[in-house]
Symmetry: C2
Subunit: 496 residues, 2 copies
């Protein structure tokens, strides 16, 4: 979403080394805590953040220009996420414990006693996002899921909200320490050099990143180019296309367009799930009507001057592409607040200039592409790059819909029907990810229960005596984990 500056404070290299060393020391103690104890500590972090909500929201307002309502909502989401992941690790299925008892008849030779469980990778580096100062930053989803998995976290904060990050870092560290977590379980560092030092550090075992495709790809290349490559979970960007069928447009054009305008303008368009493209039947767009809708959106300052400048530049480039027409002209007010811009092209224009028109533009702008035939919806779906989301507004018996949904499922991590991508619930079944360049790791999600799995790797114990096994695999199942035994799932409920 945005690059970071290079003239900002940097955590000195020696301090980064110290921080990693403390994380290495903390790792065995943090990972061997029973999940229920780590869960309690995550809840303690949530409680402390909640207790400091007024202070934190006030700091966040000064640094990000986001509204109080938005920031309070984001903080609720952040503390909920910590508690939700606490519940996920208490439930225990995240460890995927699995036991095969010995079987002499197993082909081609006998099967020994085999017990498999997931184990934390080790210290994880997390890069915070500019646009979610709480939910994708210091105590956000990547930190929460790595800590829940049993990995110490070193957070490279975002320069767009330094004060807030420092304060959140203090709160997280204090909460963990007071709850009994080992020293070194969590730390923050600042600056691009410190960030790169983390990615190259031999004791960092994985990286989670939310940010621009440019910076994300650069760090990914470093992570996979190491002597010992490590997993790099980058959430890079997405245009989140929305497809409106002819009959849906005929049935409820006004409702769809007002939802669209609200969604792409929300938070000054600074969501990774912002709908950047809307595919609409040709000839039905009432320009006056949609200008009114756009004009009714609140103006808002972008996160900071750098992002505002980058937006200005991208917007200028986009609006001057050959087939692009400006439908609603956004403005920049004296205080820096911007009103949204709405652009228009045709599907032919979109396809011919896909490299520029299907690229993410971070800020309050979106593009309507008009189509003549519904088959063009499939054509556009087929040329899409990987997306976090794809949305269809349709009628349930639209002929184009089944094929469209299937094509979109090839391209996106989340498929939304008659809704908008800018809401993202933290749940068991959510997926926030997608094929490259939406993320660098299509198998994973950065939000929801499954996010924990990014920081765990399997280890199988063969013939190991019961008392030498990790608790998760002992015969008596002292952690009450759900386990697969001889291929059958068994609930972990304690005997009553």
């Amino acid at each position: 979403m945005t690059d970071t500056d290079t003239d900002l404070p940097e955590t000195p290299f020696l301090e980064v080394s110290d921080v990693v060393e403390r994380a290495v020391d903390a790792a065995p103690r943090w990972r061997t805590l029973e999940p229920a104890m780590r869960a309690e500590m995550l809840r303690a972090v949530a409680d402390r953040l909640e207790g400091a909500d007024d202070e934190l929201v006030a700091l966040a307002i000064t640094e990000t220009h986001l509204t109080e309502t938005r920031l309070r909502g984001e903080l609720v989401r952040t503390t909920f996420q910590l508690r939700f992941l606490a519940g996920v690790i208490e439930e225990g299925d995240f460890l995927q414990a699995c036991i095969d008892t010995p079987d002499e008849s197993w082909p081609p030779g006998a099967r020994p006693d085999l017990r498999r469980v997931l184990r934390p990778l080790g210290p994880v580096a997390v890069f915070a996002a500019s646009n979610f100062p709480f939910a994708f930053s210091v105590a956000g989803g990547d930190s929460a899921s790595a800590l829940a998995a049993g990995c110490p976290v070193i957070m490279k904060v975002h320069p767009g909200h330094r004060q807030l990050s420092a304060r959140c870092g203090e709160i997280v560290c204090e909460a963990l320490r007071d709850a009994g977590a080992p020293e070194g379980t969590f730390a923050v560092v600042e600056g691009d050099k410190a960030g790169r030092a983390l990615v190259t550090h031999p004791d960092i075992s994985a990286v989670a990143f939310t940010g621009s495709a440019k910076v994300g790809r650069m760090l990914f290349d470093i992570a996979v180019g190491r002597l010992k490559p490590i997993p790099f979970y980058g959430e890079l960007g997405s245009v989140n296309p929305v497809f409106v069928t002819m009959r849906a447009a005929a049935a409820r054009l006004d409702e769809i367009l007002s939802g669209y305008v609200a969604s792409f303008s929300l938070g000054a368009g600074q969501f990774c799930t912002q709908p950047g493209i809307l595919l609409l039947p040709a000839g039905i767009l009432d320009r006056d009507r949609i200008r009114t809708m756009v004009a009714s959106q609140p103006s808002a300052q972008l996160l900071n001057d750098r992002i505002d400048g980058a937006y200005q530049e991208s917007l200028e480039a986009l609006r001057h592409r050959p087939t692009v027409e400006v439908v609603a002209e956004g403005s920049r007010q004296p205080d820096g607040a911007r009103t949204p811009t709405l652009l228009r092209t045709t599907v032919e224009g979109l396809v011919a200039d896909a490299e520029h028109l299907l690229a993410e533009c971070f800020g309050p702008v979106s593009l309507i592409a008009e189509y003549d035939e519904e088959t063009q919806l499939i054509e556009v779906a087929e040329i899409l790059e990987g997306q976090l989301t794809a949305t269809v507004h349709g009628e349930i018996d639209d002929v184009v819909v089944p094929g469209l949904l299937d094509t979109l499922a090839e391209k996106a991590g989340r498929i939304i029907w008659n809704g908008w991508p800018t809401s993202l619930a933290v749940t068991w079944a959510i997926q926030h990810g997608g094929p490259y360049p939406a993320t660098t790791s299509p198998l994973h999600t950065s939000v929801g229960a499954a996010a924990v799995g990014r920081f765990l790797r399997p280890v199988t114990y063969q013939g190991v005596p019961d008392h030498l096994l990790p608790a998760a695999l002992r015969e008596e199942n002292p952690l009450h984990l759900p386990r697969r035994v001889d291929g059958r799932y068994r609930s972990g409920s304690p005997p009553v």
Copy 2:
């Protein structure tokens, strides 16, 4: 394990393109088959291979020098693996189906209907191994798990068993076609250039590889350096250290050493799980006794002349390292058959020369490192690189054992107690993988039920009407899948 020659037949580039195009065409039809139907087709492949067992084993003998017993066992393992994975996908948990019903009270806003399921990645390129002409080749574990997942497979065969690979390829294609699989679901190609063309092809969505660290790393670098990086599952190599405690050695030295000699000599030492290092208390090795044990092992030709030559070179280098002593001298007989070589050093020697002495040497050689104090076992464990396996021979109340097992679990994918790593069962709980350089992807396994997960990515459907959902997510659960509903696991058993 071994590089491939460059003066061997090559599938022409245009033909590789055609093969990928056919796989792309097959992909939507193969992935939308119900898992139970794909399972039947995997079983049909197993049946056909089994029906041709005499022919295939005879071909394999001429090309690999492996014994008939070994090859028949490997073919049994291969057909069992196909049937086992058929059962895994029929059971259905591999799809990780998960449903969250709408919840207005979900913080920070309402939760919509969210349904998550795993979806096949698309066409997969598989690179066959030299040393398992059946189980890690044409119809081996990587192919079987990618096909089971719902991905078409293009197999780059190993030049060490071309005829066998061609014949197995025909059998797999025929079996799939006769069972009703779409044309293009499976194909074989030959040659390094064809292999590289697959890794760089924009329509290949993942690569599975078993082979040398050198070739594996080169292909990994290509896969992650693509404009659109793809997952690369490389199983590269391992020295599979074995640690013998003082009391275990005192209690049953002879039994341990004879097991060791059998394990490192098995199949002329050409297993990725061959124990390359044995840590033994100093001063107890009876050289005459162990020479007799080594001499009693059958001589065997290595897989082919190239591998024999590479072994000769590595062996020469290894035996002339400063601290290394030859305990049992192997020989090369006129027919090319080799007898095993056993080397010896001290732990000090091992640690000082770790780069050379802790490197995989592919062939019938292993190294005993003698230690004075059991704490040295932990020291060695700590300097290990990522391993497929690590083994401990101990007594259950040995003081060193808990710490040793925990350190080894940081380094290896499978921990074996009082056994040998060269047996590897295909089961639910098996893990065949490990941190780099054992593999390029520590989160995954190339053997067992979980191997299927390498080729699937999650997609969440938000608010999508029931009849437009994939069958796995429909309300009535027509596939009888186990599913997590509102956070709780529910078995997929049909109502009785």
